[in-house]
């Protein structure tokens, strides 16, 4: 059997951790660029149809959007606390915090569902299905298509994130993680923060200004 020095995969624990972080950051970069196309489409069409986009924006339910923003920011704080707890060798507390963050994520999705129901009732649907009489001009259907794409793909990420947080929370509560092995919780947390940050940009451009 060859000596250990040539068979071991990682040179050191530090290298393993750095590879995990770097890999996660590269993944986050790809996610950022995934949304880039949609943000670009939004920017171009908003600059071309400023009045229409403003009119369409005014029909958005700002209250629900703001509620969702608070939900996600709070869940991010909970996840950060959870990472801190796991690193401090308190996996039980960490697990509880992760699960409550996941719960907030579920509430977020529920609120989103309520909003979607409103849009379906009004006819503010993407593309062919657009029937919204309040904003009937060329370009408004683009706003709603982009709205559904941005929030829909974001909601997909939230769903995945809720799954990740739940699994991590359950495993953490059962004591899998601890001060010596916190990397999965850290990476899962980074993913959830990414989902949060993307929403922080989606929220103002769709609801506010």
């Amino acid at each position: 059997m060859p000596p250990e020095a040539v068979t071991e995969h990682w040179g050191s624990e530090g290298a393993r951790r750095q590879a995990a972080y770097l890999g996660m950051w590269v993944f986050i970069a790809t996610e950022v660029l995934l949304f880039a196309g949609l943000f670009t489409a939004y920017g171009v069409y908003r600059s071309v149809y400023p009045e229409v986009f403003r009119a369409a924006q005014l029909t958005m339910d700002v209250g629900l959007g703001t509620l969702n923003t608070f939900l996600l920011v709070t869940s991010s704080v909970l996840v950060a606390l959870a990472v801190h707890a796991v690193r401090g060798d308190k996996p039980g507390l960490g697990g509880a915090l992760l699960l409550s963050a996941a719960l907030l994520g579920v509430v977020f999705l529920a609120v989103k569902g309520v909003e979607y129901a409103h849009h379906v009732k009004e006819g503010g649907l993407p593309g062919d299905a657009y029937r919204f009489q309040a904003v009937p001009r060329v370009g408004a259907s683009l706003f709603f298509t982009l709205y559904f794409l941005l929030t829909g793909i974001h909601a997909l990420h939230v769903t995945v994130g809720v799954g990740v947080l739940t699994v991590l929370g359950v495993r953490s509560a059962s004591g899998t993680f601890g001060a010596g092995y916190a990397t999965p919780v850290e990476l899962g947390g980074m993913y959830w923060h990414l989902v949060d940050v993307v929403w922080l940009f989606v929220y103002p451009i769709l609801y506010l200004a």
Binding site: P2, V6, A19, G23, L34, A36, G37, G127, A129, L149
Partner: protein, 535 residues
């Protein structure tokens, strides 16, 4: 002939299952090599069919619809199933860990996943081909791609899935190069091939998601009428082109940067010299990876893009061109006062430099904006990117295949046959694509199933050249397949190369190195010590 004596990665587990579940970067590299070679064959058959159809004006062997589907499938196959994974996923996987003295890539399971994603994506694309195939061209320009009745969806989906495979490979290489370099191997000692793969990976992870999104938008437009690019809803077809070329122009560098890395290695090994200007090749690699993202609009000079935009993109394109010029200069300088071995990889290397120069200069001509108005979307463009894709990337692919064949298989190939095939390929290439360039000058647009008769003589010349190329490739396939079994045993370092990948045995053991390698100098430093004898 006896099999290679030492226990190697090839003999560590002989069942099919051991290959399908392997985490070994070398086996994964070989699987990618086999898969990409298969799709090179498929794409090549499409290419020959196209060339035969173009022998005469009017119908030769197929109708317009068949021709349109054929060139689309040729493009899709060659770009996404062959070019993009060929060198990074096959040779990169095999060589990068060996070159940096690592046991494997950073995330071996993700690496295996990228093989299966590729297979899945390729299968979906193949299914699309059996459904009749798309007729949109590999560029999927809207609104044609959103309205045509052909099987666009499976092809879009297949390419979308292959994108994830590409992203995983790139992510893996970035983490590997950052965290798994052997002790003492600093950044500025890295082999130039590793730098090239690193630069490529940056482009892969940053550009591919944009492609994924734009394909998704086209698919949604077809399925639910999302209408983002539909002029009837106030959408903008030019926005599709922006987003598409934001990926697809850097994708050109995904295809050509790794081949530049191969050439940097081969030119050093076969002239037994250090790189003439290592520093400039490294910086130009990073420069291409970065500035390559700011030039996409030079595909849109004639599309209705604003004059301001065209000017900005044209100027940026000139900057990218300079990075390539620097590399050619450095490779030529490496030959100076070397000890140049007349082996097949060197022939391909010289062909590469020459074709890259011509292809690159035509590219510079396009970036002057005014010349582009004549050449855009003509056979001149077809010739230009085939100079880069075939003249450069395929040449480099063949150079890599020959240079590292002993490393991978432990066998040598017949040198005389290989040299003959190399000469045949180079002349076949010239005969195929120089007439196409002249056709473009004459004004023959691309994607034409039928053409006015005054273009015919050049088309005949091009088809004749293509058949030469086909014979060359068949010859290579024949003698390499023969050598796998009957070739002479190569020994650990048949070329006497000082590239880092030759520090391990050939073929390497599963664990790559039997003793931890040391890195006192950079790669290809032949002058410092006694030159090792060739086997």
């Amino acid at each position: 002939m006896s099999p290679p004596a030492a226990e190697s990665y090839l003999t560590d587990g002989r069942t099919v299952w051991s290959w399908l579940t392997t985490h070994d970067h070398k086996r994964i590299g070989l699987m990618f090599l086999a898969l990409t070679l298969f799709f090179f064959l498929v794409g090549g058959v499409f290419a020959l069919a196209l060339r035969i159809e173009l022998l005469t004006p009017g119908r030769t062997v197929m109708g317009h619809l068949a021709y349109n589907r054929m060139f689309t499938l040729h493009g899709v196959t060659m770009v996404w199933l062959f070019m993009i994974p060929a060198i990074p996923s096959a040779f990169g996987n095999f060589l990068v860990p060996l070159m940096i003295g690592a046991r494997d890539v950073a995330f071996p399971r993700l690496n295996l996943a990228s093989v299966y994603l590729y297979v899945l994506g390729a299968s979906v694309t193949l299914w699309g081909m059996f459904e009749g195939g798309a007729d949109t061209g590999w560029t999927f320009y809207t609104p044609y791609s959103t309205t045509t009745g052909t099987a666009v969806l499976p092809v879009l989906l297949g390419v979308f899935i292959i994108g994830f495979s590409t992203i995983l490979t790139g992510l893996n290489f970035i983490a590997t190069v950052h965290t798994l370099r052997a002790p003492g191997l600093t950044w500025m000692k890295l082999p130039l091939f590793v730098w090239a793969i690193y630069g490529t990976s940056i482009i892969q992870v940053l550009a591919t998601p944009v492609l994924g999104m734009v394909l998704l938008l086209v698919a949604l437009e077809r399925v639910v009428g999302a209408g983002i690019f539909d002029p009837a809803r106030g959408g903008d077809p030019l926005l599709f082109q922006h987003l598409f070329w934001f990926y697809s122009h850097p994708a050109v560098y995904i295809m050509v940067l790794p081949s530049m890395g191969v050439i940097s290695e081969a030119v050093c090994a076969f002239s037994r010299k250090n790189a003439f200007s290592y520093r400039m090749i490294v910086y130009s690699t990073l420069g291409i990876a970065f500035v390559g993202f700011f030039t996409w609009g030079h595909h849109m000079f004639a599309s209705g893009q604003s004059t301001f935009g065209s000017g900005a993109f044209g100027a940026m394109s000139m900057l990218v061109a300079i990075f390539t010029a620097i590399k050619i200069f450095s490779w030529l300088g490496t030959l100076y006062r070397g000890s140049i071995a007349m082996e097949a990889p060197l022939f391909y290397t010289l062909g590469f430099m020459f074709f890259l120069f011509f292809g690159g200069m035509i590219g510079v001509a396009y970036a002057t904006t005014s010349l582009n108005l004549h050449w855009h979307d003509t056979y001149s463009v077809v010739a230009h990117f085939h100079f880069i894709m075939v003249g450069a990337t395929v040449m480099a692919f063949l150079a890599a295949l020959h240079y590292w064949f002993p490393k991978m298989s432990g066998r040598c190939f017949p040198a005389k046959l290989a040299n003959g095939a190399a000469v045949l390929i180079i002349f076949g290439f010239i005969a195929t694509f120089v007439p196409q360039f002249l056709l473009g000058n004459l004004g023959m647009p691309r994607r034409y199933a039928d053409y006015p008769p005054h273009f015919q003589s050049l088309h005949v010349a091009s088809t004749a050249g293509a058949s030469l190329l086909a014979f060359g490739f068949l010859g290579i396939a024949g003698y390499l397949a023969w050598s796998l079994r009957y070739g002479a045993v190569a020994g650990d370092n048949p070329w006497g190369s000082e590239g880092f990948e030759w520090k391990s045995a050939s073929p390497p053991p599963t664990h790559n190195f039997s003793t931890p390698p040391a890195y006192p100098t950079g790669p290809h430093e032949y002058a410092r010590e006694e030159v090792p004898h060739a086997a």
